[in-house]
């Protein structure tokens, strides 16, 4: 599994600790909400960077008070047709002002990449197969969005307002 971050495919420095798996060596680790709740003290004692992994029916509200502990929040797409994580990503960014990495896991495909970027994802766990060019092309597919988003593309409305203001 590789990580697509800021348009580049890089080695992922984070390790997922599955609920039914052994504890990884010291290092950046992503755990489930359940493990965080059950084992929080130990995780903090490890003294390593922490990330949290939400299932698609868990919401950022459940971890909002604990966000300062996490550098990464991983949101899942059990099927690419399940769009709940788009809303959860937006909530993380807008409502809870989360500044760390929001990464997409699961059924993550190139044709949904731009939607993810516009909802505040900045990293994707990707399977092999797509080239960086493919992801880049997908990210550039639609240049001007028609609704406010979390990437830096100005909206059509703001560009139109600018034009009117310029006279």
């Amino acid at each position: 599994m590789s990580l697509l971050k800021f348009g580049k495919i890089i080695d992922d420095r984070w390790v997922h600790w599955p609920d039914d798996g052994p504890e990884p060596e010291l290092g950046p680790v992503i755990v489930s909400l359940r493990r965080w709740r059950d084992d929080r003290d130990h995780l903090l004692e490890r003294g390593c960077p922490l990330g949290i992994r939400l299932t698609v029916d868990q919401t950022p509200g459940e971890i909002s008070d604990d966000l300062p502990f996490f550098e990464v929040v991983a949101l899942d797409f059990p099927a690419f047709t399940d769009g709940r994580s788009y809303s959860n990503a937006k909530r993380l960014r807008e409502r809870y002002a989360f500044k760390g990495e929001v990464r997409a896991t699961g059924d993550v495909l190139r044709d949904q990449y731009l939607n993810m970027l516009r909802c505040g994802f900045d990293a994707l766990e990707v399977k092999d197969g797509e080239t960086e060019e493919g992801w880049l092309e997908a990210a550039q597919a639609i240049s001007t969005p028609f609704q406010p988003g979390l990437d830096d593309a100005p909206t059509a409305m703001s560009l139109r307002q600018r034009r009117i203001a310029a006279g």
């Binding site: 939607n115 597919a141 703001s158």
Partner: protein, 556 residues
């Protein structure tokens, strides 16, 4: 009507190229059908019984003669020379080839048209009152708001993978010509007691397997909050709408299971956080969109000129057509003319490319180049000078499109049914044709009066049978086509879901059953009562007992 600026043009052009790339990857095997199917649906492309089908959007039913000519061209170049107007103000082509679709979309983009989000689990074509902008009883031109929502909903990154499809409808009148009470979100544009413009927001209407009427979520929403409020609704639906069962995934089920009060609480809580965000509509933006719908420069004309009156007096057929197909325009001396796409024995809503060209010419000659598509599968010319009605009617007569049946028994709404649709359980078009032929006599139709007949070929109810004054639902009984009849439905402001009258009736017997129902109505009716009024007064019993004699003991 709305004119694209460079951003709108970019969007449709880029979307077309995005889809072109996706088609190429599909054909090369780099995308599986499972990965491709949601993408092609969101570009309006179905795979139906015989072929692909492309559904092109006509936003809130407003389009131009130039656009209609392009649709004719597309029908000829890429399809089999005809198109079909649908119950959601869209047009469908039944025989496109996958490899041609990107080119078709590119050609549509040239005239500011597209097939974006006309299918898929996303926000669909926004529909509105087909008389918006030209009818006296409206508070505002609802298309301003429909266009604002259309743009906001287009390629919305958060709401591209909803639990299920999502449909908006807009009305700005107490007379609901857009069936807003049967949409996922129905918006009624209105004024509060202070005279400020705003919206009643209704949520959770729909037909399909579980017909439900929308409930009011908010009685009055000030205009600048439209987008933030509906964004809150969509966010709540996206997060907690059911995804476990395709037939329980619409927002109407969420309203039903949570209750409107709890849903309202969730929406209001979300809205509190976002109402002052960038979604708040700036006055300049509202004005900018509204300007696109400014009325054309009308001539100063009189109503009922002697010339017009003379034509009506001298030509009975013309007079009849004016009575059924012409509606009073809010501008003196003008008229709104309905072109019925239901000629006797015809396929409801179908128009050939040649007919499209001819109608486009009529729109140029008589309607300032503008047309409307209605959810009853007819077309409207919204800006006709009353003095031109006779010339218009004569031209329509020559084409065979002057059927004076708007709102009458032969103005049938029918889904494509099993002749075209992979989901259907029975055919619907042949039944519509047979009913139309049986009741072809115009005097008889006028005597029967307003009667909205709607036919669906399966329980997905795309023919809106639940809200027909008489509805027919095609079902399969041991391989034979049977039709279940419902009575008393209405999609207007007196919204009602029809009642099933009894066991389904065999195809051969259905048209006779219609005769029976009409006979009962005619014998029971009081002066001035439409079928629907008589039914509401006398109830199901007389109809049921006559149609199924001796078969039921009907409780009083």
């Amino acid at each position: 009507m709305y004119q694209y600026d460079e951003f709108d043009h970019s969007l449709v052009a880029e979307r077309t190229e995005q889809f072109r790339g996706q088609v190429a990857r599909r054909l090369a095997g780099d995308l599986t059908e499972d990965e491709f199917k949601p993408l092609r649906l969101m570009n309006g492309l179905y795979l139906q019984l015989h072929a692909y089908m492309l559904r092109v959007a006509i936003p809130y039913g407003t389009f131009s003669s130039a656009q209609l000519r392009k649709l004719a061209h597309i029908a000829n170049k890429y399809d089999r020379g005809y198109g079909h107007f649908t119950t959601r103000q869209n047009i469908q082509f039944n025989w496109p080839k996958l490899e041609d679709v990107p080119d078709m979309l590119a050609e549509l983009a040239e005239v500011e048209m597209h097939a974006i989000q006309t299918s898929g689990n996303c926000i669909r074509n926004v529909t509105a009152d087909q008389f918006a902008g030209v009818i006296a009883d409206e508070v505002d031109d609802s298309r301003t708001w429909a266009e604002i929502v259309r743009q906001w909903s287009t390629l919305h990154p958060e709401f591209t993978y909803l639990p299920r499809k999502f449909k908006f409808a807009f009305s700005a009148s107490e007379h609901d010509r857009a069936a807003v009470r049967f949409h996922d979100i129905g918006v009624i544009v209105k004024r509060n007691v202070e005279g400020e413009l705003g919206f009643e927001i209704m949520v959770g209407g729909g037909l399909g397997r579980t017909p439900m009427m929308a409930k009011t979520l908010r009685r009055f929403l000030p205009e600048r909050h439209l987008l933030s409020y509906i964004e809150a609704i969509l966010r709540v639906y996206n997060l907690i709408g059911r995804r476990d069962n395709k037939y329980k995934a619409r927002i109407k089920i969420l309203v039903h299971e949570l209750g409107i009060d709890e849903l309202s609480g969730l929406v209001e809580a979300e809205w509190e956080r976002i109402r002052d965000s960038d979604l708040k509509l700036p006055e300049e933006e509202i004005r900018r969109i509204r300007q696109h719908f400014a009325p054309p420069v009308y001539e100063v004309l009189e109503d009922d000129t002697p010339e017009f009156a003379a034509h009506r007096f001298e030509n009975a057929a013309f007079n009849r057509w004016v009575g059924t197909n012409v509606v009073t325009h809010k501008q003196t001396g003008y008229a709104i003319a309905t072109i019925s796409l239901k000629p006797v024995g015809g396929v409801p809503g179908d128009v050939t490319a040649m007919e499209m060209e001819a109608i486009a010419d009529l729109a140029d000659s008589f309607s300032l180049g503008e047309l409307r598509a209605t959810h009853e599968q007819n077309l409207v010319l919204p800006h006709v000078r009353q003095v031109d009605l006779y010339a218009l009617w004569s031209a329509l007569e020559d084409m065979g499109f002057a059927t004076p049946n708007a709102g009458l028994i032969s103005d049938i709404i029918a889904c494509p049914g099993m002749d075209y649709c992979a989901l259907a359980t029975a055919r619907s078009i042949p039944v519509a044709q047979r009913i139309s032929q049986r009741f072809a006599d115009l005097d008889r139709q006028l005597d029967i009066g307003e009667l909205k007949v709607k036919i669906s070929g399966c329980i997905n109810a795309c023919g809106h049978h639940h809200v027909g004054h008489i509805g027919l639902l095609g079902v399969d009984r041991k391989g034979e086509e049977f039709y279940q009849i419902t009575l008393g439905g209405s999609a207007a402001e007196d919204a009602t879901v029809g009642t099933i009258i009894g066991p389904a009736i065999a195809s051969e017997a259905v048209v006779d059953a219609f005769e029976t129902l009409i006979d009962v109505y005619l014998s029971e009716r009081n002066e001035g009562e439409r079928f629907l009024d008589t039914y509401r007064r006398v109830g199901l019993a007389p109809f049921k007992e006559t149609l199924y004699p001796g078969k039921f003991h009907v409780a009083a």
